[in-house]
Symmetry: D2
Subunit: 340 residues, 4 copies
Amino acid sequence: MTGIAIMGAGRMAKVHAASIAEAGARVAAIFDPVEAASRALAEATGGKVAASPTDAMNDTEVEAIMIATSSDTHVELLYEAVKTGKPVLCEKPLASSYAASRDFIATVGEAAARKVFLGFNRRFDRGHASVREGVYAGRIGRLEQLTITSRDPFPPPLEYIPRSGGLFRDMMIHDFDMARSIVGQDMVSVTAHGSSIVDPEIGRLGDVDTASVTMLAEDGAIVTILNSRRCAFGFDQRIEAFGATGMLMSDNPRQSGFRSFSKEAPGTDAPILEFFMERYGPSYTAEIRLFLDCARIGLDMPVNALDGLMAAYLAEAATASLKTGKTIHLTGPDQEFENV
Amino acid sequence: MTGIAIMGAGRMAKVHAASIAEAGARVAAIFDPVEAASRALAEATGGKVAASPTDAMNDTEVEAIMIATSSDTHVELLYEAVKTGKPVLCEKPLASSYAASRDFIATVGEAAARKVFLGFNRRFDRGHASVREGVYAGRIGRLEQLTITSRDPFPPPLEYIPRSGGLFRDMMIHDFDMARSIVGQDMVSVTAHGSSIVDPEIGRLGDVDTASVTMLAEDGAIVTILNSRRCAFGFDQRIEAFGATGMLMSDNPRQSGFRSFSKEAPGTDAPILEFFMERYGPSYTAEIRLFLDCARIGLDMPVNALDGLMAAYLAEAATASLKTGKTIHLTGPDQEFENV
Amino acid sequence: MTGIAIMGAGRMAKVHAASIAEAGARVAAIFDPVEAASRALAEATGGKVAASPTDAMNDTEVEAIMIATSSDTHVELLYEAVKTGKPVLCEKPLASSYAASRDFIATVGEAAARKVFLGFNRRFDRGHASVREGVYAGRIGRLEQLTITSRDPFPPPLEYIPRSGGLFRDMMIHDFDMARSIVGQDMVSVTAHGSSIVDPEIGRLGDVDTASVTMLAEDGAIVTILNSRRCAFGFDQRIEAFGATGMLMSDNPRQSGFRSFSKEAPGTDAPILEFFMERYGPSYTAEIRLFLDCARIGLDMPVNALDGLMAAYLAEAATASLKTGKTIHLTGPDQEFENV
Amino acid sequence: MTGIAIMGAGRMAKVHAASIAEAGARVAAIFDPVEAASRALAEATGGKVAASPTDAMNDTEVEAIMIATSSDTHVELLYEAVKTGKPVLCEKPLASSYAASRDFIATVGEAAARKVFLGFNRRFDRGHASVREGVYAGRIGRLEQLTITSRDPFPPPLEYIPRSGGLFRDMMIHDFDMARSIVGQDMVSVTAHGSSIVDPEIGRLGDVDTASVTMLAEDGAIVTILNSRRCAFGFDQRIEAFGATGMLMSDNPRQSGFRSFSKEAPGTDAPILEFFMERYGPSYTAEIRLFLDCARIGLDMPVNALDGLMAAYLAEAATASLKTGKTIHLTGPDQEFENV
């Protein structure tokens, strides 16, 4: 069983620890600045508590590294992890600022960046993955329109808004990555619209809670992303890929096959899954399995730090588009945006 | 435009008159004992009021005859109609008693009986017909289980129950015909169960309001029919044909593609169609078109008086099974049943 | 039965003539420059052939006027019709150019324009109407995002493209009207994107075949419209209205409740409706009924020439946005657009 | 963490061991006659290998006992387990013969029998449980018709058929228990029909592969159970509970929310779950949680050995009905059946 060092012992680290076990690997070492958290996770997993990230990463039983700390510490730990030469899986985002993401890629180089698995776990959702696989298998011919709907059940606490980086960097980043992974081409333009219609306080804090982004791909395919910070009926996560010969859809899965029929509601489905752990929980295990498989063979990671950079780049462009009211024509990740 | 004589000017006659127009034919003559009804229908359709059924049927502009009077007059008019040699479409049932149905077939002969179109219009429902066509086309391989669910939105008036002939003859007769048309074989046994759980008054009047019938076909396929006199959410009319390589289903169509999502009801469909005119209305036009086509070419009718006899025979057997608590082994329409 | 004069005896006129009969009115007079067409429709409906539009409109048996000629003749006939003081229903569009639409409103005045029913018949589709009614009834609280998908089964003949006015004026105009009718507010901006990805020839002719439009409403609600000139699986016509407390959807209705299950396709629905006559056919009858009701009482028409102007205005703005690559900020129907 | 002794180390034992961990308990001791199997499971779980069932059950760290051995050893181990006074969960069936089941209840007494949890795990399927809870909560008023469809993806090996006890005892027993749990009343009659239409070899071995059973409940509610040993599109497990004010349904859940649309298949769902581990896997964890909760408080088990007896009784009656071709009127579990 592959031994893994986990950086972090918080909520996401626990999720990953469970997935590691399900994926047939084991937690070998743990580091979290809150020692009690490290100890609790160590007890639950059988891993050892390390005195520092360096100790954890360099432990001889450790064959792979997972970074599941708070976002602002990712990039620093990544520099450290990359030095060990061991395979690394880092939770999204790559870094807490776009500049820092760019610097990381520039510093370590593209080859090393491709060895860092970046945890866009929604790619591994069974329904979403079926859409992507279907598109790649030619089931809808040429892709013409891609529509991604992504709505959280409720907004984050207001105090989180100012440090979130804004909706595009914090929430829509998943959808930018999803769009890239399904379209399989570079985007040439981004146009963003947004409102703070869910909660005007969010507007006062300089962010939007409802947004629509349109992107054009190189070949003219049109991508539309719809986001909302609130959805009354659950975690609304859907994709529609429309092409020359058909359409593939990833609809919201239901909690069960239960349906009820009455005069007032003559055919009501069971609720959709509530939030990301219900919906994307199984994706974490699939993600770690793929990470371990690629690590074993020494492949580039199929979703890696470069993907993290490109998703962040689109988030940056969308933020710029919203601020300026203009379509942003994309020239590549070196592009500079004003006032974002 | 084919001229048609309609016997009857009541509700079903009006439905048929509209379907006749849609099917590209015309009402040429009308007879109804209530002359005001005849006149009203004549005015609406441009047909002439006839002094008697004989006059109507023998009118030189009349090329086909439709019997849409009350059930107890069907067979008498059928004898008359058959004599004219013109094509005849008769609303179900063939006659008000099973004995009278048998006598009719015996008297006119099977060849003539095959020229009488019997109005089991549900066969022409688009969803139901797709199931039958799929079975015949081999889409599910050998048919193994057929399940027909048929529930009315509300029970008939209690005063109707005593003269209805009972649920099997009055309501399930449609499902017996449907079963025969999909299975395409003779049935070898009928077992009926029933309760008066919707309204105990119906039980006191000697009938049931909830019933389940199991029939075995010659090759061992099992048919299950479920009936209820009441359904809170509308007119529940469904078929499932299960076979070696798959299943075909005719589900309840919806009033529209409307769906609503809320916290309490996270995915509710539009209502199903309310009752037989909403659900089976379009079937009448399809039925008349087929009747006119077969008449034009001189074919035997694809659903004819013999089918009417066989459905009535199954209804008779089910009634006998319920009364005796035994499975009835079927020997053919000459079979005699005790105490039914 | 209200007598109606129909201008035109072509395909749409025939559709309307049938709807007039179903709505309980009658065709009293017909004018079409192709006299044979007039005569054929006269024979089918019992109306008389008129020598000129003026004769038809002023016939004493005529109580209401319907304009169902080719688009380029609408406005001229409208001027004539308005003069009679009789209620008028005009097929969309109001006029063949935006300028002509504006002139018409300016000439006849807003009060008269409100008496002209404009045939945006999709408003009367049962599913779409349920969405609008649900929004107005407060079933989703404040409307936050409205998404309209509208895809034709196949593109028009290439020779039609140059005289179509472009996708926004020719096809998306229905969706602009639908958006206005559901949102119930003015739009403040329009941003259009488009590609000719279905057929590059369409691009060479200066048009797009795939488009996405984003509009902001006064209160910040975001409208997204997706169009395609081709859809492999039929006439894809859907609406999603998302709000504070839920979502209402008008999904594609199916040809029947048929479903099939096999190893390869474990749950396949019946096809969706093929094109506009299958999908929106019943809407025409509903439209004419509403027109006649409003005419009888003397009400302003609930969808009238002003709505026609506003939808055309949005189409004009979208065309300008596509050409300039910029978001168009809307100032009202007097706004001038360059180079469109 | 409650320590559990597992009898058996085969496939079902492994499933249970995983569920025990997920339910927050632990495997303390294991006995399987195949020592290598015991050792493997001990290694995977951290439990100890016991020398005999008695040793395992009486281990001081063992607080509860789970019997997951082959069916023919259940009852013997149950006698042993009951003697310890510790809570017991026994996989279905209670015993390999109906007589042995009856003897067990008679020997240990009803009070002790109620403390033995019997593993009818389908009761804990989320969709099925929602139907039962809805019925009990009065959501459909009085229950009038209950229809249970249960089809395996493929038949068992032919060599299994002779020792299976026949379809009613081996497969439909789950549905008998489900029916009892939803109806909440005694059944008064059982009528069975069956065919060997899937594989005539099964018929030659004296069994059926396709069956339909009708049961009447005390108050007249009608239960219909449909079984097949083969289903081309997966593990078809559905329930419909129809009542005075509505219907509750447990439909087959899908592998994901994926749907595809093409000209040929204009709306195809993702496959249903393949077999019992995919469909009912999560039910095992729910089952063990409930078992541990009841054990902790000292409650009677909500599904216990008496339920096992009653389900076996209905299976016995169905077998007798099929053999005799007659409806069996139920008098209670002491009833003797001929030739079954």
